[in-house]
């Protein structure tokens, strides 16, 4: 058992948990943030992706101790009040989701992809970058459209700031 202290979606959090507790279970079970999902047991599917200190990380393969002192952002933390993050809006506008289960991880991953490619993205790059996110419903066609659309919106938003 250990006490971990971290920031989740801007709020300070402290929890006493077994050392073997995965970050995804801390988020889902202890903090009630059930937007981050578990889809596999070999770290392939990406449904569990969150941001730790600004980078996309698979929370199913992260022990809570590894996130001690870190800034964690989940899907619940990326919109500003009622205003959706451009990536969220792009997924909705482009029908980039069907059952929604892979979607939080897909969105968190995609935000990271856009942030790491300030020079822009093309279809081939998006498809390669999404290798760590599995979707069974959409065939990825509209997910790719969503990410490319969002990249444009995020560039515009950044330029406006």
């Amino acid at each position: 058992m250990s006490t971990v202290k971290l920031t989740v979606n801007g709020k300070a959090v402290s929890a006493d948990v077994e050392d073997r507790t995965l970050l995804v279970h801390l988020l889902r079970d202890h903090l009630g943030l059930t937007g981050t999902h578990v889809g596999c047991d070999t770290s392939q599917c990406g449904a569990c992706i969150v941001h730790i200190d600004g980078r996309a990380v698979k929370s199913c393969t992260t022990l809570v101790g590894q996130a001690n002192g870190a800034n964690v952002t989940t899907i619940e933390g990326i919109s500003k009040g009622d205003t959706l993050h451009p990536m969220q809006a792009a997924f909705r506008d482009n029908h980039g989701l069907q059952c929604g289960y892979c979607t939080p991880g897909m969105i968190m991953s995609a935000i990271d992809i856009v942030q790491r490619h300030p020079g822009g993205l093309d279809e081939e790059t998006v498809r390669q970058e999404l290798e760590g996110n599995i979707c069974r419903c959409t065939g990825y066609h509209n997910i790719v459209k969503s990410v490319l659309d969002a990249a444009g919106r995020m560039k515009v938003a950044a330029a406006a700031e």
């Binding site: 889809g39 059952c99 066609h141």
Partner: protein
């Protein structure tokens, strides 16, 4: 078409919760005092249980109880069943072996549950499960069809000698034999349809709670059909009376058929919640999903096609062995029979067809419906045969198909299905244009100069869905009817709730069902709520699978709306002193045609519920129910073309273009229809090039994680070119054929046809991995 009505590309209402992480999936459910279940599963494919010792597990921290199969028997809990009776050629009924939810004596597949630990936390349950001591006496296993039917094979069930479940046939054997005798040419193939694991991204889960005061159960479950779950759990598994069991299927993360069935785990969770007096949650991990979710496909087929001298098909003969796994799952018997062999006419005018299907037990995970359920297997046989025939007869593959197309409707096939309406030439024309077929030879030359082998492959598929006319399926052995229900509630100030027996697990019903209503009344979809997935709210329904929610679910909405509109018109006619026949509905108002006398829907509703001024004898309220029973299957059809480049050095295949030209009849929301086609094509390409569940000879599943089973990822797939032609379905009010499975049905043969075209070797097994393709290229070169 109104802005948010039929045919509009309306953005989905349900997306809001999914994109913000506020979806409510079964594993998100948290109940006070909830415990966690972890199953103890057999590591052997076939074994007798000599003993189960739970003493050590019971002493471990947090353990509430450890339960075994014998206790299920003692509590008189029923076995799992197959609900579709199939008879063999000799008239005998299918041989259904007993399937207890937890095995008391014999385990028959790796993953077969033998005990369950209930504990305070997930980790405590898993730790204690490892401490349950089971002593097995291993038995020889039959891990595939050929081993199971070989003489001397280990017998899985006493009811099924030789492991044969049934030996069924359809069509005219003698007439077909005569056609073959008269044939100018015969094309013959051995075809394997590889076993697949559905792998919806949300693993299965169940949360069960028993209220001791009310003697009432609540079950949250990842189900495509909560009412069917309640029916089966009460009437067959004997866990609770129907009126003492509420089943809720909340947000469900994909199903593809695998979440139709009522599995051991939810049954045990329900039973355990009463035994322990605590709520019980079970969530599958991904390996458990590989081992226990119903698998799909797994056929071995010998097919022969007889042609006359003009290259017209005069006969088709098919013999298929279908692997149903260790136990018969709920719909399993019907998938390789009535959902497969009845599609063996394809898009073609074939006068004589005879098919035999022998379904077999093996020591593997039970097999049942998976996206397409029988129709992908049929299309694969037909479209590989047609392409192979074209190559053998030295005819263009598109032209050979055209020559044999059915062009007159309705068309009665020799295998039960009567196709109602279609235009196969229109789809093929659209596909040929979209792929630029005329330009293919030049593209092939260019690819050759770049060191690539380019190929093109066709698939002209037809399928039967919108399942199904109840009387027809009943006569074919189904234990259920396949109608759908809708209750329309117009609330006192005019908002509308549609209570549907359909269930949405990705299909967007909260939007599309609202579009149907919005279209009729001229109101925004925001005024229409869709209620589904809870047996306490919706009285009964048959759920979502078999591409039925449009054709059947929406038809029930139309029928109920007609009743609501008729009553509303009577009220308005009475209040405006007009004739009912002169009332029209426009922009949310009931209007006397040709005048500006109108009453808005909210006021009509208020009138119905205040009942101050209704026609004599009319009951208050504005709420109507309809049960819609389809009169026929529906028949989506289309033409798919796949163009590939194969790298001869590595065997790797790139799909350079994929074109789908479908006829789904009426489209309610083209954006959602396209999404269904994209997802289906991805699964079909997955089968062709990546996926395959592999067992070793001892029955160990070697592909039991995403590390070993190749799921299609974004960089395995291209973007798709999807287009539609439309012949309305004549048998339902909206003219809908359905679109949920077509992508997975039509795509697989197009891909294999393209790769075999590229490499010049027609012998290629699925998945067509780079390794297999490379060897096929080199075998071909060696043969030349």
């Amino acid at each position: 078409m109104s802005v948010e009505g039929i045919g509009a590309r309306v953005v989905r209402k349900e997306d809001k919760r999914f994109i913000t992480g506020k979806g409510k999936y079964t594993d998100d459910v948290r109940l006070h005092g909830m415990t966690y279940a972890s199953f103890v599963r057999s590591p052997h494919a076939h074994a007798k249980i000599k003993s189960i010792d739970v003493a050590a597990a019971m002493k471990m921290p947090g353990v509430v109880d450890v339960l075994t199969g014998q206790q299920l028997v003692d509590d008189k809990i029923g076995n799992l069943i197959c609900g579709w009776m199939i008879h063999s050629k000799d008239g005998s009924p299918m041989k259904m072996g007993a399937w207890p939810a937890m095995a008391p004596e014999t385990v028959r597949f790796v993953g077969n549950a033998v005990a369950v630990v209930i504990a305070e936390t997930r980790n405590q349950a898993r730790d204690a499960a490892e401490a349950v001591e089971v002593v097995y006496e291993e038995l020889p296993a039959a891990a595939d069809i050929r081993s199971a039917i070989a003489s001397g094979a280990p017998q899985l069930h006493p009811e099924a000698p030789g492991n044969v479940i049934y030996d069924w046939s359809i069509g005219d054997e003698a007439a077909t034999g005569d056609a073959f005798k008269a044939a100018a040419n015969v094309v013959s193939m051995d075809i394997t349809n590889n076993r697949l694991v559905p792998n919806a991204m949300e693993p299965r889960a169940a949360v069960a709670e028993y209220d001791t005061a009310e003697e009432h159960f609540t079950l949250y479950t990842t189900s495509q059909n909560p009412h069917v779950a309640r029916l089966v759990l009460s009437a067959f598994y004997n866990v609770a009376a129907e009126n003492k069991l509420r089943v809720i299927a909340p947000d469900v993360g994909g199903g593809f058929g695998s979440k139709i069935f009522i599995y051991p785990e939810e049954m045990v969770a329900l039973w355990a919640s009463k035994r322990t007096g605590r709520p019980v949650k079970w969530t599958s991990d991904r390996t458990e999903a590989f081992l226990t979710d119903a698998h799909g496909r797994d056929h071995l087929t010998k097919a022969e096609m007889a042609f006359d001298k003009d290259n017209k098909i005069i006969g088709l003969r098919v013999k298929t062995h279908a692997n149903l796994g260790a136990y018969m799952s709920l719909f399993s018997s019907s998938v390789p029979t009535y959902l497969y062999a009845t599609l063996l006419s394809g898009q073609y005018n074939i006068p004589n067809i005879y098919a035999e299907v022998i379904s077999v037990y093996t020591n593997t995970t039970p097999v049942d419906a998976y996206r397409g359920a029988g129709r992908p297997e049929a299309s694969f046989v037909m479209e590989r045969m047609m392409e192979t025939a074209a190559r053998q007869l030295k005819v263009d593959p598109a032209e050979l198909r055209r020559k044999n197309f059915i062009t007159s409707f309705p068309h009665q096939t020799p295998v039960i299905m009567a196709y109602d309406a279609g235009d196969f030439n229109a789809s093929l024309d659209a596909a040929l244009k979209a792929i630029d077929y005329a330009g293919f030879p030049a593209r092939k030359e260019k690819a050759k100069k770049e060191g690539k082998l380019r190929g093109i492959g066709f698939s002209c598929y037809i399928e039967a869905c919108g399942i199904a006319p109840s009387k027809a399926v009943g006569s074919l052995g189904a234990g259920v009817g396949l109608w759908e229900s809708c209750e329309v509630r117009v609330n006192p100030v005019g908002t509308i709730e549609i209570l549907t027996g359909s269930h949405s697990h990705g299909q967007g019903h909260e939007t599309t069902f609202a579009q149907v209503v919005a279209d009729r009344l001229g109101i925004p979809i925001g005024q229409v709520s869709i209620v589904h997935g809870d047996t306490d709210k919706v009285q009964f329904g048959m759920g979502t699978y078999g591409s039925r929610s449009g054709a059947v679910g929406m038809s029930a909405i139309v029928k109920a709306m007609e009743k609501v509109e008729a009553k509303a018109k009577k009220i308005v006619a009475h209040q405006l002193e007009a004739s009912e026949n002169d009332i029209v509905i426009e922009n949310g108002e009931f209007k006397v045609t040709g005048t500006d006398k109108a009453i808005a829907l909210p006021m009509v509703a208020l009138a119905a519920y205040t009942a101050h001024n209704l026609p004599d004898g009319m009951e208050p309220g504005l709420k109507e129910t309809a049960f819609y029973d389809p009169t026929n299957f529906t028949f989506p059809a289309g033409a798919y073309v796949c163009e590939v480049d194969v790298d001869p050095g590595t065997g790797k295949t790139d799909i350079v273009n994929f074109v789908a030209a479908d006829d789904f009849g009426r489209l309610i929301n083209p954006m959602i229809v396209e999404g269904q086609v994209h997802g289906g094509i991805a699964q079909g390409i997955g089968q062709a090039m990546l996926e395959g569940a592999v067992y070793d000879k001892s029955g160990q599943l070697l592909t039991a994680s995403f590390m070993d089973y190749a799921m299609p990822r974004a960089d395995d797939l291209p973007s798709f070119k999807v287009s539609h032609t439309m012949t309305l379905c004549p048998s339902n009010p909206l003219g809908i054929k359905g679109c949920g499975e077509a992508g997975a049905i039509g795509s697989t043969p197009a891909v294999i046809n393209a790769i075999t075209d590229a490499i010049g070797n027609n012998k290629l097994e699925m998945p067509a991995s780079p390794d297999r393709v490379w060897h096929a290229i080199h075998q071909q070169q060696a043969a030349e």
